[in-house]
Structure formats: C-alpha cells, structure tokens
C-alpha cells in the first residue's frame, strides 16, 4: 500500500492510528469470550470489541497454575467469527507472545495481569509494535509508565474474576483523583510529583494540561451488572471491560445487552432501571476482602 500510494505518504502503525482505534471503542463494552459462539453472542449484544481468551478470569482464579497466552488457533477462530475488533492477552513482559499475537493480526493486545507475569521487572516495550496495546493500572503513575512504554489505551485494573466492583472503583478514583490533584498543583511541584509517582515528567505535564489521561481509559475488573458499568462511567471512564461477569451469569445474552445499554445511557437512572430488570442470576462473585494477598491479580505489574 505504501508503494502504490507513495505520493500520499501512507503510514501504518502510527501513534495516531493506534490511539485512534481506542477512540472508536469509547462508550462501548469489551467482553471476554472463550469460544467463537460466545464471541457471536457478544457481537449480537452490541459489544464494541471482544477479548479472546481460553479461560475467563474467574476460571483462571479457580484453576490456579500458570495462565499464558491463549492458543492462536482458538483466537483465529474467534477472529473469523466476528466483524468487531478482537483483542487478546499477552503475559506482562512476554514480548514474544505479543509478537505472535501481532503476527496473528489481532486488533489490540492486552498486556495483562490476569495472566501470570513473564517478567517481574519489565513490561513490553510497546512502541516496537504496529498493533496497539492496552495495559492495566491502579494509579496515575502506573498508567503513565505504561503510556511511556507505548500503551495506546489504559484500563484500570480492578480485581478480575471476582464480580466485586470495589477495586475497579478504587483504581478509577485513584487515577482520576490524582489527575485533579495534579491540576491544582503549583508548577514547581510537578517534577517532585512525577518522581514520587514514578511517571515520565513530560506525560505528567501533558496529563495536567489535558485534565485527563492522554489516552482512552476504560474500567475493568469486577464489573458484573449494568449498574456497575454505569457507576464506572459516571466516575469518568470512557468505557468498560466485562470479563467473567457476562458468561458466568445466568443469561449471558440478556446481561451483555443490558450492560451495553447501560454504558450508552449511564446518566439516565430511569433507563438504567428499565434495562436492569429480570436479567437472571449475576455471576456469584467473590468478596475481594476474602482473598489472600497472593491471589490478588492487580498486584501484578509495576
């Protein structure tokens, strides 16, 4: 394409193209799916993208062991089934899994704490890839470090596979609260703030000027109901990931559709009441406070 349209100075894999896809996903719901059939249900329910993986976080949590990138054959079958973007997860720091996902042609790579980390000191250098990355964060420093490494989209981590929204709320409030703090800070304090949160100074300045993260920011980890999704939207995120919350519930198609409606009409309680009716059993859920510290996925990554 570059050759035949040389006079147009055509470029692929630019920052604008990577961050731009995330802009197209805003106001939408990205759903975890483990089979092509589930991917179809998600697409039919109005998901703006799907995350293809072998086991949803609730099962990863239950099964234990090492969680790795999914079988590329299985990801390929999901890509063949739906026309919406397909994301897939690589282990933190596992740049070869990311290379494989890029070769496969997935639309977004999630360098995810839900999988067992491959490197306990370093994340993937994401600027090297033409495929965009989304990464998790618990606070502003973590978000800006990931953006510094090339993440074109951020999601707050929450605590995946629990159905408990409390950590998603904590992480969203932390990131958004730190941005507010940054905006009222005298200029001379910015460098020290950047040092304290371990974030690149230039990105700290940019975030302050914008009054928001410089890339699209979704919520993830524990969203199980339309009300949970609308709560995250009202807190100020751009969209939501729903992992185990849909296909671990009693009526996945109906719940998936309701969560999509809730993200569009997050500010309208009457509509939220209407769409929340008769959805069947939600996923059972695990109270995050009952989990031992070594089982907390959000602690992975740095």
């Amino acid at each position: 394409m570059t050759k035949e349209n040389g006079s147009n100075n055509t470029q692929t894999g630019t920052w604008r193209v990577k961050a731009g896809l995330a802009q197209m996903l805003k106001g939408g719901v990205i759903m975890d799916v483990v089979t092509p059939e589930q991917a179809k249900i998600a697409e039919d329910a109005g998901a703006c993208a799907v995350m293809a993986l072998e086991r949803v976080p609730a099962d990863i949590r239950a099964d234990g062991g090492v969680a790795r990138m999914s079988d590329p054959g299985m990801i390929q079958r999901i890509m063949d089934m739906v026309s919406i973007p397909v994301m897939a997860k690589a282990r933190i720091g596992h740049f070869v899994e990311a290379q494989i996902l890029e070769a496969l042609g997935v639309d977004y790579i999630d360098e995810s704490e839900v999988l067992t980390p491959a490197d306990e000191a370093h994340h993937i250098y994401k600027h090297n890839f033409k495929i965009p990355f989304v990464c998790g964060c618990r606070n502003l420093g973590e978000a800006l470090r990931r953006i510094g490494e090339g993440a074109a989209m951020i999601r707050t981590k929450g605590e995946a596979g629990t159905g408990d929204v409390v950590e998603a709320v904590r992480h969203a409030r932390t990131v958004l609260g730190q941005i507010k703090q940054l905006q009222v800070m005298p200029e001379e304090e910015l460098m020290t703030f950047a040092k304290e949160i371990g974030a690149p100074y230039e990105l700290v300045k940019e975030t302050r000027a914008l009054g928001r993260l410089p890339v699209v920011n979704f919520a993830a980890g524990g969203v199980a109901t339309p009300a949970d999704a609308a709560l995250m939207m009202q807190l100020g995120v751009d969209g939501v990931f729903v992992g185990s919350g849909i296909f671990k519930s009693g009526n996945p198609a109906k719940r998936a559709n309701a969560i999509v409606q809730a993200v569009t009409h997050f500010n309208d309680p009457e509509i939220l009441a209407e769409i929340s009716k008769d959805l069947g059993e939600p996923m059972v859920g695990i109270n995050v406070r009952s989990l031992p510290e070594e089982e907390l996925l959000a602690e992975r990554g740095w």
């Binding site: 193209v17 063949d80 042609g105 569009t264």
Partner: protein, 226 residues
C-alpha cells in the same frame, strides 16, 4: 507525537445560528463535538428522538457500526433518523456512520455483509465494504487533498479499520480520493460521507464544509425552526 486530539470536552460557544447534533450512542462522538465547538458551532450529543428534533444537521460518528446500528434500533431512532433525512436536513457519516448511511454493504471474504447490519438508514446510493483495508494492523494515515475546496492545503487523514466505497450511484459526487478509492462523497448537497476520521486530526476543513451544508439547508427551510 503522543498527543491524542479532541479527547477533552470543549466549551459550548455562546452563539451560532445553527446547531449540529452528534449521534452519541457509542464511538468518537465527543471528538466531533469538540471540533464543531472549536470552530464556533453549537454542538450537542444526541441519544434520543426528542433531542434529534432540536438540531439542524447530524453527524453519525465513527465507532463500531454493529454496536451503533443495534443501539439505533433499540432506542427507536431508526424512523426519526429517516424522517430527519427525508426533511432534507444534512447528515454526515464518518466510517461507521458511513456504513449506517450506505444503501448496501458488499461482501468481503473476512467480513460479514448486510446481514450483520440489517437495520441501516440506507439513504445514500453507495455500496460499501466494511473493514476493506484489513484489520487494525493495516489501519493507516495518509495525505489527502480536498480538490473540491480550491486552495486548501493537503491534510493528514486517519483510516481505522476503514470501510471502502465500492460503487457510487449517479446522484453521488466523489469529493476526495485516496489512490483510486473515493474516500469522501456527497449526495444532493445533503448527505456527506468520509471513510476516514477528520475528528482525529487538527484540520477542521471537513467540519467547516459540513457546517456550510447545514447552513444552506437551514436557510432553505426557515420554517423548520421556530
């Protein structure tokens, strides 16, 4: 290099003789609202039929066309949107919005055809292939020239999992090309489509052009607004 444009909501201008709505069900609607406000045009998000009645023109933004299509049906917007077009009011579809406006969707090997999006506005005489340039890895940016606006400098355009216009009917005028592909087109000075995303770049020339269409239509039909 890292700046992502139009993510932060702009202030509404105090005055302006037309109001442009942006369909705000899913996708990059805030980006369009921001560009409009920056060029001094009143802009508001549209989520209901009642809101649609308050605007003189409408942008259907980029996003996921399957998602937007389903939400349009779910919230009873299909008929009001068709009425809006029948009343002669301008509508501009970017990317997913173009797919909503297209009369027909072609079949490509990897992508589903019209059955994926049975409920569309089907108002513009074009046939379009979804995601025709490939998946995200093939998404690209390129320089384009708006030859229909003499004197305008080339501008950078962003194509994200973009559709391709496969065929255009006799009432449709090609406005901008990328190689052999028509990437912007106009029907009856009312329906505008672009396969790329002018809301993701700094140059507002296409927003200015669309607003000029809205103003012309508004002046032709003063009775539609009290």
């Amino acid at each position: 290099m890292r700046t992502v444009l139009n993510l932060v909501e702009e202030n509404q201008p105090a005055a302006g003789n037309v109001t442009v709505g942006v369909l705000a069900l899913q996708g990059a609607f805030l980006e369009h609202i921001n560009v409009l406000r920056r060029i001094g045009v009143k802009a508001r998000p549209i989520r209901t039929a009642a809101q649609l009645e308050t605007v003189d023109g409408l942008i259907i933004p980029g996003g996921e066309s399957t998602t937007i299509g389903k939400l349009v049906v779910r919230w009873g917007l299909l008929q009001p949107l068709q009425d809006f077009i029948a009343a002669g009011k301008p509508v501009w579809g970017t990317c997913a919005g173009l797919i909503m406006l297209a009369k027909d969707i072609g079949q490509t090997p990897q992508e589903g055809g019209a059955h994926i999006l049975p409920h569309r506005l089907a108002a513009m005489d074009i046939i379009v292939d979804r995601n025709a340039y490939g998946r995200q890895i093939d998404s690209f940016e390129a320089d384009l020239t708006a030859d229909f606006l003499p004197g305008k400098a080339p501008f950078r355009a962003v194509f994200i999992r973009a559709p391709r216009i496969e065929a255009i009917g006799p009432t449709v005028t090609p406005l901008i090309r990328y190689g052999d592909d028509v990437v912007a087109a106009l029907q009856n000075r009312q329906l505008l489509v672009t396969t790329f995303h002018p809301e993701l770049t700094a140059d507002p020339l296409l927003h200015e052009y669309f607003v000029s269409l809205v103003k012309q239509a508004h002046n032709r039909q003063p009775q539609t607004r009290s």
